[in-house]
Every structure is written in structure tokens, then in C-alpha cells.
């Protein structure tokens, strides 16, 4: 029986948006399978972080881009019921089309009038094939895009990290390079737990850890992979 009045602590919504490259090159060395697997594996960890977070209601969305871009998950799905359907590959790398779709969804009129900074995770293995620059410029005119925590994961050696860095911003988080399936799993887990937590309910702030020049303090990624052998991308994907 409820022995006290009121309800749960008030929360704010937090949108977590995957931006996934589904170009044909993602098929090479099983990269798309690795990405599907990494996101699927991260779900329970993400749900656990959300369960322990009193300040946010986390919603998931996903955009896929190849020849053009479309929603993979269009309706905001509460993290508690988030499931991942496999992405399939086709076509080229129209990153600009993905930015356009993202821009439309981040318009002030589309967003809640009170929210936590969205988290946008861009994952790509190649070079954009459309005019991504103009689309990125337009995207960054949206206040919610400016406020968002933007993370980019470059898969393999042919990903254009310079362009991914443009998405993250000069002062933003450095592009993460996943050269094998295991590192990709770890990075996906990191963004879906540590970054998610930092954007909604920041943990204890350490004075010696420098916060980056962004509006959310993201703890440094602990990439102490001392007991992992370095495996080449060709061997593992």
C-alpha cells in the first residue's frame, strides 16, 4: 500500500538516436553483422543504466543511411521496450540525407519543450557520397542539434574520420576508431551506458578529469585494453 503521497521523482525525456551507415561496404568483413550484434548486446546494459537513473526517461530512435536515408526506428521507443531489428546493407553513403532527416526530427516544434540533451551516435565506415557539408550546416542551425551530445564511431581504416569529426564539432568528443568487432562492442556499450548516464544524471565530477568543451561532462573513456590482443579487421569481422 502507498503510505506516502505523490509519485516518482519528476523526470525529463532523453532521446538517444542511432545514425547507422548501411552502405554496401558495411557488408565487407561482416561489419554490419558486428554492428547489429554490438547494438543488440548493449541493450541490457542500456536498460540497466536507465533503471538506475532517477532523472531521465530514455527514448530510442534510429536512422539508417545508404542511397538516401530513412527511419529504422521512427517512433520514440522507451528504452525498457527497446529491441533491435537487424540493419541490412545496400547502396552508397548518403550521410547528408541522414543529417537532413535528423534535422527534421530535432526541430523545436518536434521536440519536447523540456528535455535532456539528446545523444546522437553516428557510425560509419566510409566516405559520404552526397553533399553532407550543406546538410550538416543546416542541421547545426537547430538548437537541439547544437545541444546534443554527438559521438562518432569510425569502423575500419577506410572511414573518413575528418568528416566524422566535423559532425562531433571542433570542441567535441574525439572520433572513436573501432578496428575490430570487440572494440566496436565496447564503444557501443560505452555510448549506451556512460554517455547516456552523463547526459542525464551526471556522476561524480573528478577535479583532475578535464571536461571537454561541450555542455555535458563525459568521463574519459578507459581504453586500457592491456589484456586484449590486437586483431586485424580482416581477421575478425
Amino acid at each position: 500500500m502507498k503510505m506516502r503521497p505523490g509519485g516518482e521523482l519528476a523526470t525529463r525525456p532523453l532521446e538517444f538516436i542511432w545514425l547507422a551507415d548501411c552502405s554496401i561496404s558495411m557488408r565487407n568483413s561482416g561489419k554490419i553483422d558486428a554492428l547489429n550484434e554490438a547494438i543488440r548486446k548493449s541493450i541490457p546494459h542500456m536498460q540497466e543504466v536507465a533503471y538506475e537513473n532517477p532523472n531521465a526517461q530514455v527514448y530510442i530512435r534510429a536512422i539508417k543511411f545508404s542511397s538516401g536515408a530513412s527511419w529504422h526506428i521512427e517512433d520514440r521507443v522507451p528504452v525498457e521496450s527497446f529491441e533491435w531489428e537487424d540493419l541490412e546493407v545496400k547502396g552508397v553513403t548518403d550521410l547528408g540525407a541522414a543529417f537532413k532527416l535528423l534535422k527534421d526530427s530535432l526541430r523545436v516544434s518536434e521536440m519536447s519543450d523540456r528535455a535532456l540533451p539528446p545523444v546522437i551516435v553516428l557510425i560509419s565506415d566510409g566516405q559520404p557520397t552526397d553533399d553532407y557539408k550543406a546538410a550538416l550546416k543546416e542541421l547545426m542551425e537547430e538548437p537541439w542539434a547544437v545541444k546534443a551530445v554527438k559521438i562518432a564511431i569510425a569502423i575500419g581504416r577506410s572511414a573518413n574520420k575528418r568528416i566524422l569529426k566535423e559532425f562531433c564539432g571542433e570542441q567535441g568528443i574525439e572520433v572513436l576508431s573501432a578496428d575490430n568487432a570487440e572494440t566496436l562492442v565496447e564503444y557501443i556499450k560505452w555510448v549506451s551506458t556512460v554517455v547516456l548516464q552523463a547526459a542525464s544524471s551526471p556522476a561524480s565530477q573528478a577535479s583532475e578529469i578535464q571536461t571537454m568543451g561541450i555542455n555535458v561532462s563525459i568521463p574519459i573513456i578507459d581504453d586500457d585494453f592491456e589484456d586484449i590482443e590486437t586483431i586485424s579487421i580482416e581477421d575478425v569481422w
Binding site: 502507498k2 505523490g6 532523472n55 523540456r114 556522476a203 561524480s204 577535479s207 571536461t211
Partner: protein, 436 residues
Amino acid sequence: MHRSFRDNQRVMTQSGKSLNIVKFLGAGGQGEVYEVNYDGRRLALKWYFVQTGTENQRNMVEKLIKVGKPDERFLWPVDVITVYNKRSFGYLMPLRPIQFSNIVDLMKRRVEPSFDSVITACIQLADSFHKLHEKDLCYRDISFGNFFFHARTGDVLICDNDNVTHTKITNAGVLGTPRFMAPEVVMGHSKPNMASDLFSLSILIFYMLMMHHPLEGKQEKQIKCFDLPAMTKLYGERPVFIFDPMNHSNRPVPGYHDNAIAFWPIYTERIRQLFTQTFTKGAKYPEQRISEKIWRDVLIELKNSITICDCGMENFYDIHKLKTNVQNKCWQCQKMLHPASRLKINNEIVILNLNTKLYGHHLMAQEKYRFKKILAEVVPHPILEGRSGLKNLSKIPWRVKTKEGKQYTIDFGKSFTIEDGTMIQFGEVEGMIRKG
């Protein structure tokens, strides 16, 4: 990123002992926590990330082990551990018993404790922080994640004690957790210290009693994107208490801050005064903050004032309201409250509802501020309806003298009828019952 240890892994410490990693328990900003078996004991191991496991941090933990825990509620470091072939280090501490919940469970209403349990937890927190500060130690990082409580008894455990240092040390690694940091720390004007601990403790107590943050009102509602700059403004630059009697600009907004609106009027005027002082004058002037000792004493007053309405709900009988001719009404059914009998003891007044308990705190000097040992309980008369008595659950026989002069000895397991004017010699202390 990677876990430092696998479940069921056996490692050799540099002191030559075997350490069994039982399972991973969780990770925070500084490191990971594992359940371990060490020297035949089940313990928790906190293992620092390479970046946070600094020499300075290690010295801090070693000093804490030397100083010793302020009381048994602190899950205090017991041993520093280094492992062969591993960078960084860790420390061992007692394991949290599974029946303890975390404060997030309370905030998300996954546990539904009584007011009595929540207040007992707050009393214990204030008492433990008083003992910590008495040792000139400062906690620095009060937040939801650092405490556990027992939803039925209100018992509290305090973990993550590795940032505790002498209050004068200013280079401790941690600044605190947003939403809990004192304004001067948020603004970077000061490093965490005893005064900022007091502010953070008041935030935690407010959260536990009101299920809301004391500075989140209209200003918070107007913020679209709640990021760090917004938090700095709200909690650092311009902290305005949502119930500031002089500044109405940040009142809680219906539909957004309903818990604050629902809980605030339920508590006693004294509790509201303490919050008001700490979050108005105390937000600006650290020396005006409420001490843990005052929190502890006033929260005990609050616990003692619990009155059960006929509808079954706990309420607080506010003596202040009687003085100002305001009626005490039940928050649930809105009916007028009729307080049960009261026991005057040690300058405290305890309302005697059916099932009210007296603890070591009430009856034994050396148990002051402890609510573990139940030494008396209000029970119904086995035959006579409407009559209640106080049952002796202590080993000490009580001497009872009624208003009419009748005298009895009440041994363990026996009860006497609660009547106006009855005097009770409990052994160390004397009490008197008042009715009406």
C-alpha cells in the same frame, strides 16, 4: 571500458594472498566494484580505473584505513589491494547486505517505506555525518549512489568512502555530483569541504522527505535543454529555494513539480524552517547552513510526532499549529487529527499510537540516537477494546505510578494501561504520560 576482472577469476595479490573475484557488481566514474572472497571473508572490492587509481588516491585510502570508520554505518575501506601484473589498485570494504535498497529505488517508488522509516534513515544519515565531521573528515560527494537503506527499519549504510579526507585537504580528486553540490562548489569558488557537505546533506534529506529537488521550480520548468550550463545556472549562479518566503520567483509548478507541492505542507513548521534557512541564507552563506546535529535532533522530533489518523495514514502532529490555532488535518482524508497520548521523556515528546516503539535512543543514555533496540511498544489490551498499554520489551523492570498513586512493577513482556498522569521509571530515565 573492459572489466578489469572476470567473474570467478582467481588472482594473486602482491601480498601473496589469493583473491577470488565472485562477480562484477557495478561501475562508477572512478572504478569498478566486485564481490570477492578474500581470506575466507566475503567482501566488496573497489578497483580503480588506471586514470583514477593515482598515488594521491592510494594515500587517501591508506589514511582512511588508519583513521578508522566513524561508525558502523560506513562501509569503510579495510585493506588496500594490488594485484600482480595489473596496473592501478583497489581496496576492500564490507559488502552491502541484499536487503538494503538504494535511494534510486526510493525515488522511483520501487520501495514504499513508511514516513517513519524514511525519517529514521534521515536521522541516521545526519548522525553518521555528525560523527564523520567530528573526526575532522569531509565526505565531498553526497549523492543518491552513495547510500543504501533498509525500507522497513530505516537503517542506513554509507559507501564510496574513498573520497573522504581531512577537511583541510583541498586537492582531493572529487568535486561532487551535479544536483548535490553546494553553489560555491558549482561555481568553482570553493572545493568541497565540511560546509558543502552540510548543503549536500540537506539536499539529500529534502529529496528523501519531499521526493523533489529544493531548487527545481519555475526556473527549471522554463529551461528547455537541461544540460550542464543549465545546471550551473540553477544550482550555482542563481539558486532560489522553491519555497523561499521572500522570493516567489521559483515556486513549484503544478503538473511539473507535484511531489514538492504534495509533501511540503505535510511536515512540521520546524522542518520547513530548517529547509528554508539552509536553502536561502545557507545557499549564500555557508556558515548559515543547518548542522547535522540540528538536523538529527529536529528529525527525531519529527519521528516522535507521528500520529496515525483513523484512516490509517501517518501524519505529523505539529505543536506549532496548536500554538497558532491552526488545526492539524490528515493529508489523506482531511479529517482533524486527534493525537493519541503523549509520553514526555528526556525533553522529547513521543506520540503514543498503537505500535509506536521506544528505542534505545529514548531509554538508554549510551544508546542515544540509535533506533535499533526496541525496548517498549504500544499494544492493544487483549480484552478491553479501545484501551492500549505500553509493553516492556527491555530486561529492566519499570516502576509505574498512576495519577491516583497506585504503584506497579512492570517486568519484561508485561504492559500497563496508558493513562493521563502516569509516571514511569524506565531505569535510567523517567517519563510521564499526558492525554488530551
